[in-house]
């Protein structure tokens, strides 16, 4: 049969049907593009305006410059605030990760009286409005004659980070096959070695995820920090105060850097996982 006849016998699909078919196949893709655009426009805006030759207020585009990136501490106080936030974030992450991991093991692995109520109570700080937590913590500190400042802020951050750490690590522990630990014990590893060689390495990704979460929660926190930090300036506080008279472009530089740092960590994590799986 010649191809000409064959072509002629194939019925053409009407344009409308083809269009609706195309939509049917690509609807999810279109939706996804809209979704991501919505999520990333603020980030893109922040990044773009970090190159704005803004002068005092960074609201209107005045021209491209690399000056903000070359001198990120250019705005007064901004790097002190950043330093404080990093210090607080680091301490809060360390303490909340250690304590939260221990709580997660206790709740996830052992039967004890009050286990289910502890399980419930651990969610409470997550559900309580931050404004309430911040205010009541401040009054608590004042009752004990502790002045707001660096350490009260760290304590406050540890408190609200713990819940998130517990929930994250507990999920990882729940997915851990108890027979792996039994196998380790069967193969001459005592309790400590079993924990170090089998339990901890297997739960580690959960702990790392929890630590990242804790750091970003702490770094980001404004409401609770505002109540308990006194005169101490953190990065969110700096941005909030600066907003009244115009946020310097350096804030965009730092914000963008944090974003790219987080992105780099996530990508690195993915790469390590993929390498492990191979």
């Amino acid at each position: 049969m010649s191809s000409k006849i064959k072509d002629a016998t194939i019925p053409t699909i009407p344009f409308k049907a083809r269009l609706s078919r195309w939509f049917g196949r690509n609807l999810l893709r279109i939706y996804m593009i809209f979704g991501f655009t919505y999520l990333f426009i603020p980030v893109a805006y922040t990044f773009a305006f970090s190159f704005n030759d803004s002068g005092k207020s960074n609201l209107i585009w005045k021209g491209f410059t690399l000056g903000n990136w070359q001198n990120p501490c250019g705005a007064p106080q901004i790097c002190d605030a950043l330093g404080n936030s990093i210090k607080i974030g680091f301490l809060a992450t360390t303490f909340s990760t250690i304590l939260g991991t221990m709580i997660a093991f206790a709740i996830g692995r052992y039967q004890f009286k009050g286990r289910s109520s502890s399980n419930l109570l651990i969610f409470l700080p997550m559900a309580t409005p931050e404004i309430v937590l911040g205010a009541s913590l401040l009054s608590l500190f004042l009752v004990f004659k502790i002045n707001p400042g660096f350490w009260p802020t760290v304590i406050a951050h540890v408190m609200f980070c713990i819940s998130f750490v517990v929930v994250t690590v507990k999920a990882r522990i729940a997915s851990l096959d108890p027979r792996l630990e039994q196998a380790a014990m069967d193969l001459y590893a005592n309790e400590l070695e079993t924990f170090r060689r089998v339990t901890l390495p297997l739960v580690a990704p959960g702990i790392a995820g929890a630590a990242l979460l804790a750091f970003s929660l702490s770094f980001d926190d404004f409401i609770i920090t505002n109540f308990n930090s006194g005169t101490l300036i953190t990065f969110p506080k700096f941005v909030y105060v600066a907003a009244a008279r115009g946020i310097p472009a350096q804030a965009n530089v730092i914000g963008s850097s944090m974003f790219f740092l987080a992105l780099a960590i996530v990508i690195a994590g993915q790469l390590v996982n993929r390498k492990k799986a191979r």
């Binding site: 096959d177 027979r179 792996l180 039994q182 196998a183 380790a184 014990m185 069967d186 193969l187 001459y188 590893a189 005592n190 070695e193 060689r197 089998v198 390495p201 297997l202 492990k276 799986a277």
Partner: protein, 381 residues
């Protein structure tokens, strides 16, 4: 304070072990000796207590009452890592974050053994997977994981190797192959293997001695042939293969034989094979021990007349018949297709006969359904 593996090498003795969970007794007053160097199987349906028994030997559970000895050493309360015992777990429990090499080396490293590399390579060769040393467990097939789990245990040369349904996750063909391989490896390394399974065929293929467990107790223990040919209880008769159990009365003695009345027809059987306690008993005959003949022909040995073929299934090596007897019972008969006689047809009147020595006698008060209703495909846990 770990146990010297040389001193502890010897028979494993469980003495009056009970394990209770609240009111439920998973293991009930169990006494058992497993001789050094043997391939021993604990066989039973799910929930019979076999896995609990194994876990107590491994040290993962502690008995409520009773003691466990390995050689002369009491190991009842020692921790799992203090026992010269290793386990092949049901789903292998390979460490997913370690390579195959490190999985196998795990036990050696914990004990501070020097020539780790040499020993791991040797055992990898034994299970014929030396090329997989640097892989991760998830990259292996089920059969390969099974062998690595075995290698990880035997590399330690334990006094006792425990196998918890080790072949349960493999398909039938691979299971058959691994059964033969396990048996070969056991002879090769000369360790005591204790194998827990619900699969009677697997137990009979591999083990020298089988203990059949039911409801936390041992029903009967012996070689596969002993258990099959002379079961002492209805549970064993039904759980290991199939049995025809016919209700009867002991009618008298004839030398070393008993005369049994089965619904008016007299048969005989050796006295030594009767486990009846009074005059009532069940006469047990395996389906393949029966012969079928047309009514009117003369037959040797015991015979029962008045049967009628109810169903015929031709399955190649044999033909399976269901024969309805005058007293309403249906008997299973397996005939080898080796005599050129064409199969009998449905509805034909037949005589069933067998050698008296193949008969076994069970107590008359037994539940003849015991061991038939359990689903052998179920796996513990």
């Amino acid at each position: 304070m770990s146990i010297d593996p040389i001193e502890a090498r010897g028979d494993l003795r469980l003495t009056r072990i009970t394990k209770s969970y609240g009111d439920f007794k998973a293991v009930d007053d169990l006494t058992l000796t497993i001789p050094k160097g043997s391939f021993f199987a604990l066989l039973g349906p799910s929930g019979c207590g076999k896995t609990t028994t194994l876990r107590m030997v491994a040290g993962l559970e502690e008995p409520t009452v009773g003691s466990i000895h390995l050689g002369e050493t009491d190991i009842t309360t020692t921790r799992p890592y203090q026992r010269p015992i290793n386990t092949v777990f049901q789903n292998y429990a390979l460490f997913p974050h370690l390579t195959i090499f490190e999985n196998i080396a795990f036990g050696l490293r914990r004990r501070g053994i020097k020539d780790v590399k040499e020993q791991v390579d040797k055992v990898l060769n034994l299970v014929e997977l030396p090329h997989l040393a640097e892989r991760k467990p998830t990259q292996l097939s089920g059969g390969q994981q099974q062998r690595i789990a075995l290698a990880r245990a035997i590399v330690n040369r334990p006094a006792l190797l425990l196998l918890d349904e080790p072949l349960g996750a493999l398909d039938l063909k691979l299971r058959r192959q691994m059964q033969i391989e396990l048996k070969w490896i056991q002879r090769e390394v000369g360790l005591t293997f204790v194998h827990v399974t619900h699969d009677q065929e697997e137990a009979m293929t591999m083990a020298d001695t089988i203990a059949v467990m039911n409801e936390g107790k041992i029903e009967q223990m012996g070689s596969p042939a002993d258990l099959y040919d002379d079961p002492e209880t209805a549970f064993v008769a039904n759980f290991l293969g199939q049995s025809n159990l016919i209700k009867g009365k002991i009618d008298g003695n004839d030398g070393d034989n008993l005369v049994i009345d089965l619904f008016g027809q007299k048969i005989s059987m050796p006295k030594a094979r009767s486990h009846a306690v009074d005059n009532s008993l069940y006469a047990g005959i395996r389906p393949e021990k029966f012969r079928i003949s047309r009514t009117g022909t003369s037959v040797r040995g015991n015979s029962l007349t008045g049967g009628r073929i109810e169903d015929v299934s031709y399955i190649g090596v044999s033909t399976q018949y269901v024969v309805a007897m005058p007293w309403g019972q249906e008997l299973m008969v397996f005939e080898q297709n080796d005599d050129g006689v064409p199969p009998f047809n449905k509805g034909e009147e037949v005589i069933i006969s067998w050698e008296p020595n193949f008969t076994f006698g069970l107590r008359g008060d037994e539940d003849i359904e015991a061991g038939t209703e359990v689903n052998p495909e179920e796996i513990d846990e």
